[in-house]
Symmetry: none
Subunit: 252 residues, 2 copies
Protein backbone atom coordinates (compact mmCIF):
# COMPACT_ATOMS: atom_id res chain seq x y z
CA UNK A 1 0.00 0.00 0.00
CA UNK A 2 1.25 3.45 -0.87
CA UNK A 3 0.42 5.76 2.02
CA UNK A 4 1.16 9.21 0.73
CA UNK A 5 0.10 10.44 -2.63
CA UNK A 6 1.88 13.51 -3.72
CA UNK A 7 0.51 14.53 -7.06
CA UNK A 8 2.99 14.35 -9.89
CA UNK A 9 3.02 17.84 -11.47
CA UNK A 10 3.23 16.16 -14.87
CA UNK A 11 -0.43 15.17 -14.53
CA UNK A 12 -1.17 18.80 -15.37
CA UNK A 13 0.22 18.17 -18.87
CA UNK A 14 -2.46 15.59 -19.69
CA UNK A 15 -5.36 17.20 -21.51
CA UNK A 16 -8.83 15.66 -21.56
CA UNK A 17 -10.54 16.57 -24.85
CA UNK A 18 -14.30 16.01 -25.10
CA UNK A 19 -15.74 16.15 -28.60
CA UNK A 20 -19.32 17.34 -29.05
CA UNK A 21 -20.48 16.07 -25.68
CA UNK A 22 -24.30 16.10 -25.54
CA UNK A 23 -25.04 15.89 -21.83
CA UNK A 24 -23.73 18.67 -19.60
CA UNK A 25 -24.09 16.31 -16.62
CA UNK A 26 -21.34 14.20 -18.15
CA UNK A 27 -19.07 17.24 -18.48
CA UNK A 28 -19.60 18.02 -14.79
CA UNK A 29 -18.97 14.42 -13.72
CA UNK A 30 -15.80 14.42 -15.83
CA UNK A 31 -14.54 17.61 -14.17
CA UNK A 32 -14.95 15.93 -10.77
CA UNK A 33 -13.31 12.70 -11.94
CA UNK A 34 -10.37 14.70 -13.33
CA UNK A 35 -9.82 16.70 -10.17
CA UNK A 36 -10.12 13.56 -8.03
CA UNK A 37 -7.19 12.15 -10.00
CA UNK A 38 -5.11 15.31 -10.21
CA UNK A 39 -5.85 16.22 -13.83
CA UNK A 40 -6.73 19.83 -14.59
CA UNK A 41 -6.81 20.56 -18.33
CA UNK A 42 -10.26 20.17 -19.86
CA UNK A 43 -10.88 21.08 -23.52
CA UNK A 44 -14.38 21.00 -24.98
CA UNK A 45 -14.86 20.81 -28.74
CA UNK A 46 -18.30 22.18 -29.62
CA UNK A 47 -20.14 21.07 -26.47
CA UNK A 48 -23.91 21.03 -26.90
CA UNK A 49 -24.53 22.99 -23.70
CA UNK A 50 -21.79 24.78 -21.82
CA UNK A 51 -21.55 26.50 -19.39
CA UNK A 52 -24.40 24.70 -17.71
CA UNK A 53 -25.89 24.62 -14.23
CA UNK A 54 -26.30 20.84 -14.61
CA UNK A 55 -22.59 20.50 -15.30
CA UNK A 56 -21.71 22.67 -12.32
CA UNK A 57 -23.95 20.67 -9.98
CA UNK A 58 -22.40 17.36 -11.04
CA UNK A 59 -18.90 18.81 -10.80
CA UNK A 60 -19.40 19.28 -7.06
CA UNK A 61 -16.21 20.92 -5.76
CA UNK A 62 -14.47 20.66 -9.11
CA UNK A 63 -16.07 23.76 -10.61
CA UNK A 64 -12.59 25.26 -10.97
CA UNK A 65 -11.95 22.68 -13.70
CA UNK A 66 -15.09 23.82 -15.52
CA UNK A 67 -14.19 27.50 -15.04
CA UNK A 68 -10.80 27.01 -16.65
CA UNK A 69 -12.06 24.66 -19.39
CA UNK A 70 -11.19 25.75 -22.92
CA UNK A 71 -14.02 25.70 -25.46
CA UNK A 72 -12.86 25.36 -29.07
CA UNK A 73 -14.41 24.79 -32.48
CA UNK A 74 -12.18 22.11 -33.91
CA UNK A 75 -10.16 19.12 -32.92
CA UNK A 76 -7.07 20.79 -34.37
CA UNK A 77 -7.35 23.59 -31.85
CA UNK A 78 -7.91 21.04 -29.11
CA UNK A 79 -4.76 19.05 -29.79
CA UNK A 80 -2.43 21.88 -30.72
CA UNK A 81 0.98 21.39 -29.16
CA UNK A 82 0.33 17.83 -27.99
CA UNK A 83 3.19 15.38 -28.52
CA UNK A 84 0.93 12.39 -28.08
CA UNK A 85 -2.72 12.13 -29.11
CA UNK A 86 -4.72 9.10 -28.01
CA UNK A 87 -8.36 8.47 -28.89
CA UNK A 88 -10.59 6.48 -26.55
CA UNK A 89 -12.45 3.83 -28.48
CA UNK A 90 -14.78 1.28 -26.95
CA UNK A 91 -14.29 -1.28 -29.65
CA UNK A 92 -11.30 -3.08 -31.00
CA UNK A 93 -11.74 -2.06 -34.56
CA UNK A 94 -10.16 -3.79 -37.48
CA UNK A 95 -8.10 -0.77 -38.26
CA UNK A 96 -4.51 0.05 -38.84
CA UNK A 97 -4.15 2.30 -35.79
CA UNK A 98 -1.95 0.92 -33.08
CA UNK A 99 -4.09 0.07 -30.10
CA UNK A 100 -3.39 0.20 -26.42
CA UNK A 101 -5.38 -0.59 -23.35
CA UNK A 102 -5.94 2.12 -20.78
CA UNK A 103 -3.11 0.98 -18.51
CA UNK A 104 -0.63 1.01 -21.36
CA UNK A 105 -1.96 4.40 -22.43
CA UNK A 106 -1.36 5.87 -18.99
CA UNK A 107 2.19 4.54 -18.93
CA UNK A 108 2.86 6.00 -22.34
CA UNK A 109 1.26 9.31 -21.37
CA UNK A 110 3.40 9.60 -18.28
CA UNK A 111 6.52 8.90 -20.31
CA UNK A 112 5.53 11.50 -22.87
CA UNK A 113 4.79 14.32 -20.44
CA UNK A 114 8.46 14.42 -19.62
CA UNK A 115 8.85 16.13 -23.00
CA UNK A 116 5.49 17.72 -23.73
CA UNK A 117 1.74 17.59 -23.55
CA UNK A 118 -0.60 14.67 -24.07
CA UNK A 119 -4.19 14.82 -25.37
CA UNK A 120 -6.71 12.09 -24.59
CA UNK A 121 -9.72 12.33 -26.91
CA UNK A 122 -13.22 11.20 -26.01
CA UNK A 123 -15.90 11.16 -28.70
CA UNK A 124 -19.65 11.67 -28.63
CA UNK A 125 -21.78 9.72 -26.16
CA UNK A 126 -23.66 7.92 -28.94
CA UNK A 127 -21.18 7.62 -31.77
CA UNK A 128 -17.65 8.07 -30.40
CA UNK A 129 -14.91 9.41 -32.65
CA UNK A 130 -15.29 9.91 -36.39
CA UNK A 131 -12.76 8.44 -38.79
CA UNK A 132 -11.36 11.90 -39.42
CA UNK A 133 -10.85 12.34 -35.69
CA UNK A 134 -9.19 8.95 -35.38
CA UNK A 135 -6.82 10.05 -38.13
CA UNK A 136 -5.48 12.62 -35.69
CA UNK A 137 -4.69 9.96 -33.11
CA UNK A 138 -1.32 8.28 -32.69
CA UNK A 139 -3.01 5.46 -30.81
CA UNK A 140 -6.50 4.24 -30.06
CA UNK A 141 -7.06 3.16 -26.48
CA UNK A 142 -9.74 0.98 -25.00
CA UNK A 143 -10.89 -0.03 -21.55
CA UNK A 144 -10.97 -3.80 -21.10
CA UNK A 145 -14.62 -4.66 -20.53
CA UNK A 146 -17.46 -7.13 -20.85
CA UNK A 147 -17.42 -8.14 -24.53
CA UNK A 148 -21.22 -8.26 -24.59
CA UNK A 149 -21.64 -4.83 -22.97
CA UNK A 150 -18.54 -2.80 -23.53
CA UNK A 151 -19.72 0.78 -23.83
CA UNK A 152 -19.01 2.78 -20.69
CA UNK A 153 -20.67 6.06 -19.88
CA UNK A 154 -18.20 8.75 -20.98
CA UNK A 155 -17.65 10.10 -17.48
CA UNK A 156 -16.89 6.60 -16.22
CA UNK A 157 -14.47 6.11 -19.10
CA UNK A 158 -12.65 9.35 -18.26
CA UNK A 159 -12.58 8.26 -14.61
CA UNK A 160 -10.79 5.04 -15.51
CA UNK A 161 -8.27 6.80 -17.77
CA UNK A 162 -7.60 9.47 -15.15
CA UNK A 163 -7.25 6.84 -12.43
CA UNK A 164 -4.72 4.90 -14.49
CA UNK A 165 -2.77 8.11 -15.14
CA UNK A 166 -2.51 8.74 -11.42
CA UNK A 167 -1.55 5.11 -10.83
CA UNK A 168 1.10 5.40 -13.55
CA UNK A 169 2.71 8.29 -11.69
CA UNK A 170 3.09 5.96 -8.72
CA UNK A 171 4.78 3.34 -10.89
CA UNK A 172 6.90 5.97 -12.62
CA UNK A 173 8.35 6.92 -9.27
CA UNK A 174 9.43 3.37 -8.63
CA UNK A 175 11.06 3.16 -12.05
CA UNK A 176 12.81 6.48 -11.99
CA UNK A 177 14.57 5.52 -8.81
CA UNK A 178 15.45 1.96 -9.84
CA UNK A 179 16.77 2.73 -13.31
CA UNK A 180 18.84 5.64 -14.36
CA UNK A 181 17.62 6.07 -17.91
CA UNK A 182 14.38 7.63 -19.06
CA UNK A 183 11.72 5.31 -20.38
CA UNK A 184 11.57 5.27 -24.16
CA UNK A 185 8.96 7.51 -25.77
CA UNK A 186 6.25 6.28 -28.09
CA UNK A 187 8.25 7.55 -31.07
CA UNK A 188 11.34 5.70 -29.95
CA UNK A 189 9.35 2.51 -29.46
CA UNK A 190 7.81 2.85 -32.92
CA UNK A 191 11.27 3.42 -34.36
CA UNK A 192 12.42 0.22 -32.68
CA UNK A 193 9.46 -1.77 -34.00
CA UNK A 194 10.05 -0.47 -37.54
CA UNK A 195 13.70 -1.38 -37.27
CA UNK A 196 12.88 -4.82 -35.86
CA UNK A 197 10.39 -5.45 -38.66
CA UNK A 198 12.97 -4.59 -41.30
CA UNK A 199 15.77 -6.54 -39.66
CA UNK A 200 13.64 -9.66 -39.30
CA UNK A 201 13.08 -9.55 -43.04
CA UNK A 202 16.73 -8.87 -43.76
CA UNK A 203 17.78 -11.97 -41.84
CA UNK A 204 15.01 -13.89 -43.60
CA UNK A 205 13.25 -14.73 -40.40
CA UNK A 206 9.99 -13.01 -41.14
CA UNK A 207 7.62 -13.65 -43.98
CA UNK A 208 6.09 -10.20 -44.58
CA UNK A 209 2.70 -11.78 -45.36
CA UNK A 210 2.52 -12.96 -41.76
CA UNK A 211 3.90 -9.81 -40.26
CA UNK A 212 0.78 -8.36 -38.61
CA UNK A 213 0.21 -11.11 -36.12
CA UNK A 214 3.88 -11.67 -35.48
CA UNK A 215 4.66 -8.02 -34.87
CA UNK A 216 1.69 -7.78 -32.52
CA UNK A 217 3.33 -10.53 -30.49
CA UNK A 218 6.63 -8.64 -30.46
CA UNK A 219 4.82 -5.49 -29.35
CA UNK A 220 3.12 -7.38 -26.57
CA UNK A 221 6.48 -8.64 -25.39
CA UNK A 222 8.41 -5.39 -25.53
CA UNK A 223 5.56 -3.07 -24.48
CA UNK A 224 5.22 -4.83 -21.19
CA UNK A 225 8.97 -4.56 -20.63
CA UNK A 226 8.89 -0.75 -20.49
CA UNK A 227 12.16 -0.29 -22.31
CA UNK A 228 14.33 2.65 -21.40
CA UNK A 229 16.16 4.78 -23.97
CA UNK A 230 19.48 3.05 -23.40
CA UNK A 231 17.93 -0.36 -23.91
CA UNK A 232 16.32 0.78 -27.15
CA UNK A 233 19.76 1.95 -28.32
CA UNK A 234 21.28 -1.41 -27.48
CA UNK A 235 18.55 -3.46 -29.13
CA UNK A 236 18.78 -1.35 -32.27
CA UNK A 237 22.54 -1.75 -32.21
CA UNK A 238 22.04 -5.52 -32.22
CA UNK A 239 19.59 -5.26 -35.12
CA UNK A 240 22.05 -3.14 -37.10
CA UNK A 241 24.83 -5.68 -36.52
CA UNK A 242 22.58 -8.50 -37.74
CA UNK A 243 21.54 -6.48 -40.79
CA UNK A 244 25.14 -5.70 -41.63
CA UNK A 245 25.97 -9.41 -41.60
CA UNK A 246 22.88 -10.21 -43.65
CA UNK A 247 23.67 -7.63 -46.33
CA UNK A 248 27.27 -8.84 -46.43
CA UNK A 249 26.01 -12.28 -47.34
CA UNK A 250 23.66 -10.95 -50.01
CA UNK A 251 26.36 -8.87 -51.69
CA UNK A 252 28.56 -11.85 -52.42
CA UNK B 1 -2.55 -5.40 -25.57
CA UNK B 2 -4.82 -8.29 -24.85
CA UNK B 3 -7.19 -8.81 -27.74
CA UNK B 4 -9.86 -11.11 -26.45
CA UNK B 5 -11.58 -10.66 -23.17
CA UNK B 6 -13.43 -13.69 -22.00
CA UNK B 7 -15.14 -12.87 -18.75
CA UNK B 8 -13.92 -14.87 -15.81
CA UNK B 9 -17.02 -16.54 -14.32
CA UNK B 10 -15.60 -15.82 -10.87
CA UNK B 11 -16.53 -12.16 -11.36
CA UNK B 12 -20.10 -13.27 -10.66
CA UNK B 13 -19.05 -14.06 -7.11
CA UNK B 14 -18.17 -10.45 -6.33
CA UNK B 15 -21.09 -8.65 -4.71
CA UNK B 16 -21.44 -4.88 -4.75
CA UNK B 17 -23.25 -3.75 -1.59
CA UNK B 18 -24.61 -0.19 -1.52
CA UNK B 19 -25.63 1.11 1.90
CA UNK B 20 -28.46 3.65 2.12
CA UNK B 21 -27.73 5.18 -1.25
CA UNK B 22 -29.61 8.49 -1.60
CA UNK B 23 -29.60 9.13 -5.33
CA UNK B 24 -31.25 6.55 -7.58
CA UNK B 25 -29.22 7.92 -10.48
CA UNK B 26 -26.11 6.62 -8.77
CA UNK B 27 -27.67 3.16 -8.40
CA UNK B 28 -28.39 3.12 -12.13
CA UNK B 29 -24.91 4.32 -13.06
CA UNK B 30 -23.47 1.62 -10.79
CA UNK B 31 -25.53 -1.09 -12.49
CA UNK B 32 -24.10 -0.01 -15.83
CA UNK B 33 -20.55 0.19 -14.48
CA UNK B 34 -20.91 -3.31 -13.01
CA UNK B 35 -22.23 -4.86 -16.19
CA UNK B 36 -19.53 -3.13 -18.25
CA UNK B 37 -16.97 -4.92 -16.10
CA UNK B 38 -18.70 -8.29 -15.88
CA UNK B 39 -20.06 -7.99 -12.33
CA UNK B 40 -23.67 -8.96 -11.75
CA UNK B 41 -24.56 -9.15 -8.04
CA UNK B 42 -25.98 -5.91 -6.67
CA UNK B 43 -27.28 -5.71 -3.08
CA UNK B 44 -29.00 -2.58 -1.80
CA UNK B 45 -29.27 -1.95 1.93
CA UNK B 46 -32.21 0.40 2.58
CA UNK B 47 -31.95 2.44 -0.60
CA UNK B 48 -33.79 5.75 -0.38
CA UNK B 49 -35.63 5.23 -3.67
CA UNK B 50 -35.75 1.93 -5.48
CA UNK B 51 -37.00 0.78 -7.93
CA UNK B 52 -36.73 4.10 -9.69
CA UNK B 53 -37.18 5.34 -13.23
CA UNK B 54 -34.14 7.56 -12.75
CA UNK B 55 -32.03 4.52 -11.87
CA UNK B 56 -33.37 2.61 -14.87
CA UNK B 57 -32.60 5.47 -17.25
CA UNK B 58 -29.02 5.77 -16.00
CA UNK B 59 -28.54 2.00 -16.11
CA UNK B 60 -28.99 2.10 -19.89
CA UNK B 61 -28.79 -1.52 -21.07
CA UNK B 62 -27.89 -2.82 -17.61
CA UNK B 63 -31.47 -2.92 -16.31
CA UNK B 64 -31.08 -6.66 -15.81
CA UNK B 65 -28.65 -5.86 -12.98
CA UNK B 66 -31.30 -3.64 -11.37
CA UNK B 67 -34.03 -6.25 -11.91
CA UNK B 68 -32.03 -8.90 -10.13
CA UNK B 69 -30.75 -6.58 -7.38
CA UNK B 70 -31.49 -7.76 -3.85
CA UNK B 71 -32.96 -5.20 -1.47
CA UNK B 72 -32.28 -5.92 2.21
CA UNK B 73 -32.73 -4.20 5.56
CA UNK B 74 -29.38 -4.78 7.18
CA UNK B 75 -25.72 -5.09 6.39
CA UNK B 76 -25.74 -8.57 7.94
CA UNK B 77 -28.18 -9.77 5.32
CA UNK B 78 -26.08 -8.10 2.64
CA UNK B 79 -22.85 -9.84 3.53
CA UNK B 80 -24.26 -13.23 4.48
CA UNK B 81 -22.07 -16.02 3.12
CA UNK B 82 -19.24 -13.73 2.04
CA UNK B 83 -15.74 -15.01 2.80
CA UNK B 84 -14.20 -11.59 2.34
CA UNK B 85 -15.81 -8.23 3.19
CA UNK B 86 -14.07 -5.04 2.08
CA UNK B 87 -15.34 -1.54 2.79
CA UNK B 88 -14.57 1.31 0.41
CA UNK B 89 -13.31 4.29 2.30
CA UNK B 90 -12.20 7.55 0.75
CA UNK B 91 -9.90 8.50 3.54
CA UNK B 92 -6.92 6.83 5.09
CA UNK B 93 -8.23 6.82 8.62
CA UNK B 94 -6.15 6.43 11.69
CA UNK B 95 -7.77 3.16 12.50
CA UNK B 96 -6.71 -0.35 13.19
CA UNK B 97 -8.34 -1.91 10.13
CA UNK B 98 -5.93 -3.26 7.59
CA UNK B 99 -6.02 -1.07 4.51
CA UNK B 100 -5.57 -1.86 0.86
CA UNK B 101 -5.67 0.16 -2.30
CA UNK B 102 -8.18 -0.77 -4.98
CA UNK B 103 -5.69 -2.74 -7.08
CA UNK B 104 -4.63 -4.82 -4.10
CA UNK B 105 -8.29 -5.31 -3.20
CA UNK B 106 -9.10 -6.66 -6.64
CA UNK B 107 -6.22 -9.11 -6.50
CA UNK B 108 -7.33 -10.32 -3.08
CA UNK B 109 -10.94 -10.57 -4.24
CA UNK B 110 -9.98 -12.67 -7.24
CA UNK B 111 -7.96 -14.99 -5.04
CA UNK B 112 -10.85 -15.31 -2.60
CA UNK B 113 -13.55 -16.11 -5.15
CA UNK B 114 -11.80 -19.37 -5.83
CA UNK B 115 -13.27 -20.45 -2.47
CA UNK B 116 -16.34 -18.30 -1.94
CA UNK B 117 -18.05 -14.98 -2.33
CA UNK B 118 -16.69 -11.48 -1.83
CA UNK B 119 -18.64 -8.40 -0.73
CA UNK B 120 -17.46 -4.88 -1.52
CA UNK B 121 -19.28 -2.29 0.63
CA UNK B 122 -19.95 1.28 -0.41
CA UNK B 123 -21.37 3.70 2.13
CA UNK B 124 -23.65 6.73 1.86
CA UNK B 125 -22.86 9.46 -0.65
CA UNK B 126 -22.37 12.05 2.09
CA UNK B 127 -21.03 10.13 5.06
CA UNK B 128 -19.62 6.81 3.87
CA UNK B 129 -19.59 3.82 6.19
CA UNK B 130 -20.42 4.02 9.90
CA UNK B 131 -18.03 2.60 12.47
CA UNK B 132 -20.41 -0.30 13.07
CA UNK B 133 -20.32 -1.06 9.35
CA UNK B 134 -16.55 -0.86 9.25
CA UNK B 135 -16.52 -3.38 12.09
CA UNK B 136 -17.97 -5.88 9.63
CA UNK B 137 -15.11 -5.33 7.16
CA UNK B 138 -12.01 -7.46 6.97
CA UNK B 139 -10.26 -4.67 5.13
CA UNK B 140 -10.83 -1.05 4.22
CA UNK B 141 -9.96 -0.13 0.65
CA UNK B 142 -9.28 3.23 -0.92
CA UNK B 143 -8.76 4.62 -4.38
CA UNK B 144 -5.50 6.54 -4.75
CA UNK B 145 -6.51 10.11 -5.49
CA UNK B 146 -5.76 13.81 -5.21
CA UNK B 147 -5.04 14.38 -1.53
CA UNK B 148 -6.80 17.74 -1.66
CA UNK B 149 -9.91 16.36 -3.38
CA UNK B 150 -10.20 12.68 -2.74
CA UNK B 151 -13.91 11.96 -2.60
CA UNK B 152 -15.14 10.29 -5.75
CA UNK B 153 -18.78 10.09 -6.75
CA UNK B 154 -19.97 6.66 -5.58
CA UNK B 155 -20.69 5.41 -9.10
CA UNK B 156 -17.21 6.43 -10.21
CA UNK B 157 -15.74 4.64 -7.20
CA UNK B 158 -17.63 1.45 -8.05
CA UNK B 159 -16.44 1.82 -11.66
CA UNK B 160 -12.81 1.87 -10.56
CA UNK B 161 -13.25 -1.12 -8.22
CA UNK B 162 -15.09 -3.10 -10.89
CA UNK B 163 -12.49 -2.19 -13.51
CA UNK B 164 -9.68 -3.38 -11.27
CA UNK B 165 -11.55 -6.63 -10.63
CA UNK B 166 -11.79 -7.25 -14.35
CA UNK B 167 -8.14 -6.31 -14.81
CA UNK B 168 -7.20 -8.71 -12.01
CA UNK B 169 -8.87 -11.53 -13.95
CA UNK B 170 -6.85 -10.55 -17.04
CA UNK B 171 -3.61 -10.78 -15.16
CA UNK B 172 -4.68 -14.21 -14.03
CA UNK B 173 -5.63 -14.93 -17.61
CA UNK B 174 -2.37 -13.72 -19.03
CA UNK B 175 -0.54 -16.08 -16.77
CA UNK B 176 -2.82 -19.07 -16.85
CA UNK B 177 -5.22 -18.95 -19.78
CA UNK B 178 -4.82 -16.10 -22.25
CA UNK B 179 -1.31 -16.69 -23.37
CA UNK B 180 -1.83 -20.43 -23.10
CA UNK B 181 1.93 -20.76 -22.70
CA UNK B 182 3.70 -21.41 -19.46
CA UNK B 183 6.26 -18.95 -18.20
CA UNK B 184 9.74 -20.02 -19.14
CA UNK B 185 11.67 -21.95 -16.52
CA UNK B 186 15.03 -20.84 -15.18
CA UNK B 187 16.71 -23.48 -17.37
CA UNK B 188 14.97 -22.22 -20.47
CA UNK B 189 15.97 -18.66 -19.66
CA UNK B 190 19.60 -19.71 -19.18
CA UNK B 191 19.44 -21.49 -22.53
CA UNK B 192 18.21 -18.29 -24.12
CA UNK B 193 20.95 -16.19 -22.52
CA UNK B 194 23.62 -18.64 -23.67
CA UNK B 195 22.21 -18.57 -27.17
CA UNK B 196 21.98 -14.76 -27.13
CA UNK B 197 25.59 -14.48 -25.93
CA UNK B 198 26.82 -16.72 -28.76
CA UNK B 199 24.69 -15.05 -31.42
CA UNK B 200 25.84 -11.57 -30.41
CA UNK B 201 29.41 -12.71 -30.99
CA UNK B 202 28.53 -14.39 -34.28
CA UNK B 203 27.07 -11.17 -35.65
CA UNK B 204 30.12 -9.35 -34.29
CA UNK B 205 28.07 -7.16 -32.01
CA UNK B 206 29.61 -8.25 -28.76
CA UNK B 207 33.20 -8.05 -27.71
CA UNK B 208 33.57 -11.05 -25.37
CA UNK B 209 35.87 -9.07 -23.11
CA UNK B 210 32.96 -6.81 -22.25
CA UNK B 211 30.40 -9.54 -21.96
CA UNK B 212 29.78 -9.62 -18.21
CA UNK B 213 28.37 -6.16 -17.86
CA UNK B 214 26.51 -6.29 -21.13
CA UNK B 215 24.87 -9.64 -20.46
CA UNK B 216 23.81 -8.42 -17.03
CA UNK B 217 21.95 -5.64 -18.76
CA UNK B 218 20.28 -8.10 -21.12
CA UNK B 219 19.26 -10.24 -18.18
CA UNK B 220 17.76 -7.28 -16.40
CA UNK B 221 15.73 -6.47 -19.51
CA UNK B 222 14.43 -9.96 -20.26
CA UNK B 223 14.04 -11.11 -16.67
CA UNK B 224 11.55 -8.39 -15.92
CA UNK B 225 9.58 -9.27 -19.07
CA UNK B 226 8.62 -12.70 -17.71
CA UNK B 227 9.02 -14.49 -21.00
CA UNK B 228 6.80 -17.44 -21.71
CA UNK B 229 8.02 -20.61 -23.42
CA UNK B 230 6.62 -19.61 -26.81
CA UNK B 231 8.36 -16.26 -26.66
CA UNK B 232 11.63 -17.96 -25.81
CA UNK B 233 11.17 -20.17 -28.87
CA UNK B 234 10.54 -17.15 -31.06
CA UNK B 235 13.48 -15.17 -29.76
CA UNK B 236 15.79 -18.14 -30.23
CA UNK B 237 14.39 -18.59 -33.72
CA UNK B 238 15.40 -15.01 -34.49
CA UNK B 239 18.88 -15.61 -33.08
CA UNK B 240 19.27 -18.75 -35.20
CA UNK B 241 18.25 -16.85 -38.35
CA UNK B 242 20.78 -14.13 -37.60
CA UNK B 243 23.49 -16.73 -36.94
CA UNK B 244 22.70 -18.52 -40.18
CA UNK B 245 23.18 -15.28 -42.09
CA UNK B 246 26.37 -14.52 -40.21
CA UNK B 247 27.91 -17.93 -40.87
CA UNK B 248 26.85 -17.73 -44.52
CA UNK B 249 28.94 -14.64 -44.84
CA UNK B 250 31.89 -16.20 -43.07
CA UNK B 251 31.84 -19.37 -45.16
CA UNK B 252 32.41 -17.60 -48.44
Amino acid sequence: MIEDYRLDPNLAKIRIVLIETSHPGNIGAIARAMKNMGLSQLVLVNPKEFPSSVASARASSACDILDSAKVVNSIDEAIVGAKLVVGASARLRKVSWPQLDVRETAQLALQTVEDGEVALLFGREDSGLSNAEMDKCHYLAHIPSNPTYSSLNISQAVQVFAYECLMATQIETVHSKGYKHKLASADQLEGFYDHLYQALQDIEFLDPSKNARFMRRMRRLFNRTQLDVKEIDILRGILTAAQRKASGEKSE
